[in-house]
Amino acid sequence: MLVRNRMRRDPRTVTPDQTLAEALQLTREHRIRHLPVVLKSGELTGIVSDRDIRLAMPSPLAVADADRADFLERTSVAEVMTREVITVTPHDTVEDAAKLLYKHRIGALPVADGEGRLVGILSETDILHTFVQILGGAQPSSRLEIGLRDEPGELSRAVRIIGEELGLNIVSILVPSLPEQTRKVAIAHLDTIDPREAVQALEAAGYEVGWPSLEMDLRKPEVG
């Protein structure tokens, strides 16, 4: 999945000479955390977050409210913004974008084209939303967990049972690969209200299937 499919186009922006008061107002009005800073030419020159602004403000313990308001009015975005902006291009993958957010511990990535012009923004919320959609079924389905031995043919045999023998459509299937995992599990969303046959056929073929079962529940009463 590419950034251009998930980014927000036409993001709210500020120019370097706008005041912090204006910037803060924009973040509140649109309920956003990050504002890319662009020049009149459209070229990206920085980024400012609501947190940057709050940290720049004098402490409310030391200064009267009126002075804090005055500070916001007379300070420009250019004085507070981050100039070394980490960006992605529309053609990067969402996985790589997620890695950048994680590695640099930042909350949003401006998306810039080849000429450095801002074309969109991708926030951690957008990425989280993408992963929620990937992990959950995007259309009505039943969810099964299928235990897999880590060897060639395991997954394809299971898929063949579901798709060819039973004629069920697979809405999505995910086989996570995590370092701490001792076994592989496929999380499959099947396009049916009645996965009984699929559970039976998979079990008959030697797969362990995760699906609510009172018998399993009885064996492991301590597992919640």
Binding site: P140, S141, S142, G167, N169, D191, I193, D194, P212, G224
Partner: protein
Amino acid sequence: VSDPRGAALIWDPAFTTYRFGPDHPFNPKRLELTLSLMEELQLLDGPGVRVEPPRMASDAELHLAHAPEYVAAVRRLGGDGADRAEARHWGLGTEDTPVFPGMHEATATVVGGTLRAAELVMQGEVRRAFALAGGLHHAHRDRASGFCVYDDLAVAARWMAETHDARVLYIDVDAHHGDGVQGIFYSDPRVLTFSMHESGRYLFPGTGFPDELGDGEGYGYSLNLPVEPFTEDDSWIGMYADFLPEAAAAFRPDVILLQAGCDAHVYDPLTHLRCTTRMYEETVRITCQVADEHCQGRLVATGGGGYAIWRVVPRAWSLVWATLAEREMPERTPLSWLQRWQGESPELLPDLLRDPADAFAAVPRRGEIEAMNRRTLATLRRDALPLLRGWSLGF
């Protein structure tokens, strides 16, 4: 004859033409068995009770909930134009919802049954009506799903909202989330949808979490209370009794539309809940109370899921109907009914109409399941009730 305290059952043998094939779990045999039990119990005649035939829903009525192109496709595919790729596009021709001849006419009759029930109630001819064949809550605006072709509930709800300017409280106690109805009214504040169901963590359709609250104008008008697998009567009934009156007081409905699918029963093969017939009697009793308090009694009920067709559906829906019609139910299943059907039944038919309190072993994790369910309810109350209360008062 109009009887403002009476109840109507909508029934016609034509309902059994909504049939996907001999081995399909959504088997109209269950309707036949249920009607036969109601007859043996003499629940279909006597004071305050009438049986009314359905009519066929018109295209204009179907368009209240469905895209005209979808209705046209269902008609074409159920005729002789069954094209596999086209059927797939509309969610038809699948294992769950195969194409069958006369599909449009059969489903339009199911919709007409629920509409007939809504008409009788809204025109004050009866207080409560039960459209036995209705309850196709998985059908979407332009897509069949989960055994459902047209969404009779959504058509009837919008018909009541538009024709009678009614605020409709839709309640769905089927074990599966009522995703079709929720989707059709997701941004419509005139119809409050409340679905209580087994969690979609594993079970079809995989939706119905408390954070699905509606959208735009309809934000706050979608309520979902998913319960843990293996939930039993006490937990279900307790939460229903606590939450429904609160939600109804906040929304102030003019009529209640209840989808009374009976697949939350221990014996149901498709779900993992552990409820008994007591849950259905109590749920309907509480719903009647709320309708009496807020809606001058107006209550339209339908069937829905229910796949233990021998041991559960006939008893559960007879209890639903007896509660709606305020008729006493005997303790024992009529011998004549048992004799008529036992030969055909693959299972021993229960000789008691209500499951005895000790019929099923307690679930070992009962306390934990109850606590998890209560946590879900707390989330729903915290997130949804302020929205509903605030907007109902107009600020």
